[in-house]
């Protein structure tokens, strides 16, 4: 068993990280905090999950969120998708393993992956609306959010949701407020089977190795860690029984990256755009300097009068 989540402190403790520890800030150029804090990570072991949704409930409770009463849609996944209130969601997949013909109930806790290379942050146009701390947490700063939805386009995992109430984007914070005072995220604290554990990224990788060895010894030869390199690795990782095909876990992307369209939009298009617009403006000024104004001459006026017949009104 992994050492259990610590109990809350009884006295106030200083915050472990804050604004001085930013390594990225949306739509801003900052000097990344140096040295970096130890990277943290949440490890979600899908093979240990019993689908109790304690994590979902704990998330709502800690963040004081209230999900609307929904409808039953034929699946345990409820609500059917992430919402501005449901920052995490158990996604249930009934999958028949073609090798064994066994029904496997795959339960993946969906939510922000806290990418090392965050697409949301790179797409965000509002300065400081998305920040990344040096411990790896990617957080939305709602005071600065303008609700444009660019983060939705930037995210390779389809995570952020825009609230219809206040037009701001919401996603899992990794309980940055809890982690700042030495606590585990609320979901991890609530998990009864330690399917969710929390620690430094290195600890989590090491812990995952043990779990994967165990799974392999029990016949899951493709068991593995989901820490996709296409986004620089993530600070939420999964242990998957079938890591060779993550997409069977309710569409977990295989090798996610920031969309090349987003990269072009946020990269080359800016330089190209300002270059072209600048060129047009400079060409205009230059042409005027060289060619001078195109003036109507007295002769033109006379010709027009002649054409019109010349008689006075």
């Amino acid at each position: 068993m992994f050492p259990p989540a610590p109990n809350p402190p009884v006295k106030p403790v200083p915050e472990k990280f804050g604004d001085k520890d930013l390594i990225r800030k949306s739509a801003s150029t900052i000097t990344p905090a140096s040295p970096r804090q130890v990277e943290v990570a949440k490890l979600i072991d899908v093979s240990k999950c019993i689908g109790c949704k304690a994590c979902q409930a704990a998330c709502l409770e800690w963040n004081n969120l209230h999900e609307e009463i929904g409808t039953f849609n034929g699946s345990y996944t409820n609500p059917p998708d992430l919402t501005p209130a449901s920052l995490t969601l158990m996604r249930f997949t009934e999958w028949v393993n073609p090798e064994t013909d066994n029904l496997e109930w795959l339960i993946r806790k969906d939510g922000c992956m806290h990418c090392e290379d965050p697409g949301c942050l790179k797409a965000c146009p509002a300065p400081g609306a998305i920040v990344q701390y040096s411990n790896g947490i990617v957080d939305f700063v709602h005071d600065n959010c303008i609700g444009c939805g660019y983060c939705v386009k930037g995210c390779p995992f389809n995570i952020p949701r825009i609230s219809k109430v206040d037009n701001k984007a919401y996603k899992c914070t990794l309980c940055s407020d809890r982690i700042a005072v030495g606590q585990w995220p609320a979901c991890a604290k609530a998990c009864p089977t330690q399917a969710i554990v929390f620690g430094t990224k290195d600890e989590m990788k090491k812990w995952a190795d043990g779990r994967i060895t165990d799974l392999k010894s029990r016949g899951y030869r493709n068991a593995g860690l989901y820490d996709p390199p296409g986004v620089g690795g993530t600070h939420v990782m999964y242990v998957l029984q079938h890591a060779d095909k993550p997409e069977i876990y309710a569409g977990l992307p295989n090798n996610p990256t920031i969309s090349p369209i987003v990269e072009i939009w946020k990269g080359a298009t800016k330089y190209f755009g300002f270059a072209v617009i600048g060129f047009a403006a400079v060409a205009g000024v230059f042409h005027h300097l060289v060619a001078g104004p195109n003036k109507v001459s007295a002769e033109d006026e006379e010709n027009a009068e002649k054409l019109a017949g010349g008689d006075r009104p």
Partner: protein, 228 residues
């Protein structure tokens, strides 16, 4: 004889010294300036969201949230306002053989050698390029704009479609700003032009110099029009 393709409602010649030519009706001018103001506001609010370096422009609209909310609505105003201009002006902007000649002599155009250019109707090829360019780009912008107008239309498209739409929207916006620069610069460079969109009138000499075919059509008596 029927009305020439390029003579629009309200175009008329007033004899005098100098001759004054009515080029745009009051309605057309109001229509134009609503479109113009919308386009400028769209460019400012759009660029504010396009580049962090221009984010400060959101202050003009009351902050980021309001900029995000108002930009698409200004787009809707522009679309309908421009539609008005489109139906007023499309016929006079049809391509004619002299436009090809004019384009081939673009060096003379830029050098201001009007005497080497063919006689033109109400619009030259450059103006026609601005007209059709604006028309096509506004269509692209409104369509791609709806795809990324998440507040009301989020559910209708996939995220991948939204990514493509926002790239197309940005590129079309860059293009339309360039067309706008051409439009404004030409109006400034060719002296006597701006009056057409302010007072609605140009001088006879201006019409003679730049749109002689149009001027000839206006002075030619036409059956069915009452004599002055």
């Amino acid at each position: 004889m029927s009305k020439p393709y390029d003579v629009e409602t309200g175009d008329a010649v007033h004899k005098g010294h100098p001759i004054v030519v009515d080029r745009y009706t009051l309605a057309a001018r109001i229509n134009h300036w609503i479109t113009a103001i919308s386009l400028i506001l769209l460019a400012l609010s759009g660029m504010a969201l396009f580049s962090p370096k221009l984010y400060f422009l959101t202050a003009l609209f009351g902050g980021g949230q309001l900029t995000r909310a108002i930009h698409p609505w200004i787009g809707v105003v522009l679309f309908f306002s421009f539609a008005g201009l489109f139906f007023r002006f499309w016929k006079a902007n049809l391509w004619k053989s002299e436009d090809g000649t004019w384009l081939r002599r673009i060096r003379d155009v830029l050098a201001g050698h009007e005497e080497r250019l063919p006689e033109l109707g109400k619009y030259n090829a450059g103006q026609k390029f601005v007209f059709w360019g604006m028309s096509a780009l506004i269509l692209v912008l409104i369509c791609s704009g709806f795809v990324v107008w998440d507040q009301y239309f989020y559910a209708f498209t996939t995220i991948e479609q939204k990514r493509i739409a926002i790239l197309v929207h940005a590129l079309a916006a860059i293009a339309i700003i360039c067309v706008w620069i051409v439009h404004v610069y030409a109006a400034i460079w060719v002296r006597g032009t701006i009056g057409a969109m302010t007072r609605g009138q140009v001088t006879g000499g201006w019409a003679w110099r730049h749109h002689r075919k149009w001027l000839r059509e206006l002075v030619r008596p036409r059956p069915g029009t009452p004599a002055e």
